[in-house]
């Protein structure tokens, strides 16, 4: 018994030490800067941060965009996952491969493509005006809309893939069974599908929300300086102003938000899980 414990420790030791020393240690030193002033330990960096209207706005914008992206991805994700689950196995494999694709393509290439599409004379506006949906081209680039669209495309697969796998794990024939019992589609979704796929939703939701909070390339290129998010603000604070205290504060906030989301959603998944 002690033997396998020791063997287990020996096997996890290299990876654990590597991460602890080569990764966590420097990160902790950096984060500790958020709690320090020349005079000693303090929380004033945080109060300063939230006292600044710009920072406050960036914080709420990041939060808001993260929530919106997650909510829309979840709605659209369920519809997509159900449709894919309905497809025959051959095309299902292909559809899943297509879903994976955006995750595998360089974020620079991906964002660059949106630059070409969302512009005033870009693909989207040309299409909209030519079918007469709008007279005046829409301003999308450098607005929260552009960031929203870019983030949605990036994280949508991370929402759909767990949903597909939890739909696959759903006991067969529960949907026909509910239909036979007279449930409407809405009732089926609400009472059968949602509870049975909650785990997938939580995994997808966490990945999407946390991913949106910490995205860099998308807001940097599609949002620009008028749509700063926490991560782009962090970069700006460091590279423009050499302001490592603010950088540390933003880092702590980002990590705290990520961890809180993880914990909260995990609890949500298990809260009423034991039906």
């Amino acid at each position: 018994m002690t033997n396998t414990r020791r063997a287990g420790l020996m096997l996890v030791a290299p990876a654990t030490l590597f991460i602890a020393i080569g990764f966590l240690l420097p990160v902790f030193v950096l984060l500790s800067g958020a709690f320090r002033l020349e005079s000693g330990w303090t929380l004033s960096n945080f109060t300063d941060f939230f006292a600044d209207p710009l920072y406050r706005e960036v914080f709420f914008r990041t939060f808001r965009l993260g929530l919106t992206v997650t909510a829309v991805a979840a709605l659209l994700g369920y519809a997509t996952a159900l449709a894919i689950n309905d497809a025959n196995p051959r095309s299902k494999g292909r559809l899943v491969a297509l879903l994976v694709l955006p995750l595998m393509i360089s974020p620079v290439a991906r964002t660059y493509a949106w630059l070409v599409i969302l512009g005033r004379t870009g693909f989207l506006n040309v299409a909209l005006t030519s079918v007469g949906l709008t007279d005046e081209p829409l301003r999308i680039l450098f607005t929260e809309w552009a960031v929203f669209i870019g983030l949605l495309q990036l994280f949508f697969p991370l929402m759909v893939l767990p949903l597909i796998s939890s739909l696959e794990n759903m006991p067969r024939d529960v949907i026909p069974a509910a239909r036979v019992l007279g449930a409407s589609w809405l009732a089926i979704f609400w009472r059968i599908i949602l509870p049975l796929t909650r785990e997938g939703l939580v995994v997808g939701g966490t990945l999407t929300f946390v991913g949106s909070l910490t995205a860099y390339v998308t807001p940097a290129i599609l949002g620009g300086s008028k749509v700063l998010m926490l991560e782009t603000l962090l970069y700006q604070r460091v590279s423009v102003a050499n302001d490592y205290a603010s950088a540390g504060v933003i880092a702590v906030i980002l990590i705290a938000m990520s961890v809180a989301t993880n914990v909260m959603l995990k609890r949500l998944a298990t809260a009423r899980g034991g039906r």
Binding site: D52, L54, R56, E57, L115, P137, F142, K226, N242
Partner: protein
């Protein structure tokens, strides 16, 4: 396992590291037109010095941040900066004094470029005008405050405060409102004006390379840029003009400096001197990259048109002194963040 990691890393390092030359000179410059620089400056210099140039590129603030971060172990030997960034670096003890005796070509450049920081730590290698570019068939520009005209609502981009052009733009707007405050570095009226028109400004750009694209995609009809961006802008298939507004144009000076702590002092000076030479300044000018500071350089009219050329031009530019920039930067940034960025 740990050894395996080290071995693999070491092997990988060996693969990516440049083959060792006799000597290496590491320079840090703007990323603009690197192909042209390679052809007319880097390669010829490598032949002369029998050394290898390693080039880092980036904008002022990023490179300054890195220079400061690496102060204990400098990796850069020669750095090209905007004058204000150079002054900031100098005040942080990141630069070494220049040995003018080793720079034979300094005497041949404009006076204002010989010791622009006033501390003997940098020499100017190029200067440029900063003005408004605009789509002439769509709008006309008479003054700096025309940036906020009705025709330009939702169709204009301004440089962000964090770029070199940002303060220059505020400076010229402030001059149009109250020149005295402008010279003192008080841009409060200009900032208020930008803030008021915040929603009519498409974006505060951080890279001037965006401007040709923004113009061509008809995102914007006008913007403020440095002349170095003009070749890219004038090449788009639209009527774009360089405005000569009432109140003139601003501009900037880019300088070369030697990084404190470098071991390649001699080679660094040799490189700077070479860059200032008539031959190289002419070639860079003819490549339509940087305007020459060497007074002996003569170019044809077409080239001159693409650049910011000649003593009269230099005379007409309203430079914003680096000391004023240093002194007021924090307050501009604060005011900008509270009034505009949010």
């Amino acid at each position: 396992m740990f050894n395996a990691r080290l071995t693999v890393s070491a092997a990988a390092l060996a693969m990516v590291a440049a083959p060792a030359a006799a000597q290496e000179l590491t320079i840090s410059v703007y990323g603009i037109a690197q192909d042209a620089f390679d052809e007319v400056l880097y390669t010829p210099f490598e032949e002369i010095c029998d050394c290898e140039l390693v080039v880092e590129t980036g904008n002022n603030s990023e490179r300054l941040a890195k220079l400061e971060a690496n102060a204990a172990n400098p990796v850069i030997d020669v750095i090209a900066f905007a004058d204000s960034a150079a002054l900031e670096a100098a005040e942080k003890d990141l630069l070494a004094p220049l040995d003018m005796a080793q720079l034979s070509n300094v005497d041949g450049i404009y006076d204002f470029a010989q010791d622009p920081l006033g501390n003997g730590m940098a020499v100017g290698y190029t200067f440029y005008g900063t003005s408004i570019v605009y789509r002439s068939e769509e709008v006309s520009i008479e003054t700096w405050t025309d940036l906020f005209s009705e025709e330009l609502a939702g169709r204009v981009a301004l440089p962000n405060i964090t770029t070199t052009q940002g303060p220059l733009t505020l400076y010229m707007i402030q001059r149009a409102i109250d020149a005295e405050k402008a010279e003192a570095g008080d841009f409060s009226d200009a900032i208020a004006m930008v803030a008021e028109n915040r929603d009519r400004i498409v974006t505060f750009y951080e890279r001037s390379s965006q401007i040709p694209q923004l113009l061509q995609q008809e995102e914007i009809l006008a913007s403020v840029v440095g002349r170095f961006a003009w070749p890219g802008i004038s090449s788009i298939p639209l009527e774009v003009e360089w405005a000569l507004p009432e109140g003139g144009q601003s501009g900037g000076l880019n300088v070369l400096a030697v990084v404190a702590g470098t071991e390649q002092t001699e080679l660094a000076h040799q490189f700077i001197d070479y860059w200032l030479s008539e031959e190289i300044q002419t070639r860079i000018a003819e490549a339509r990259v940087d305007s020459p500071v060497n007074t002996a350089v003569e170019v044809d009219e077409e080239t001159a048109e693409a650049l910011t050329y000649g003593p009269e031009m230099a005379e007409s530019i309203h430079f914003l002194p680096p000391a004023v920039q240093m002194e007021n930067r924090e307050s501009w940034l604060d005011a900008w963040n509270t009034e505009i960025a949010r």
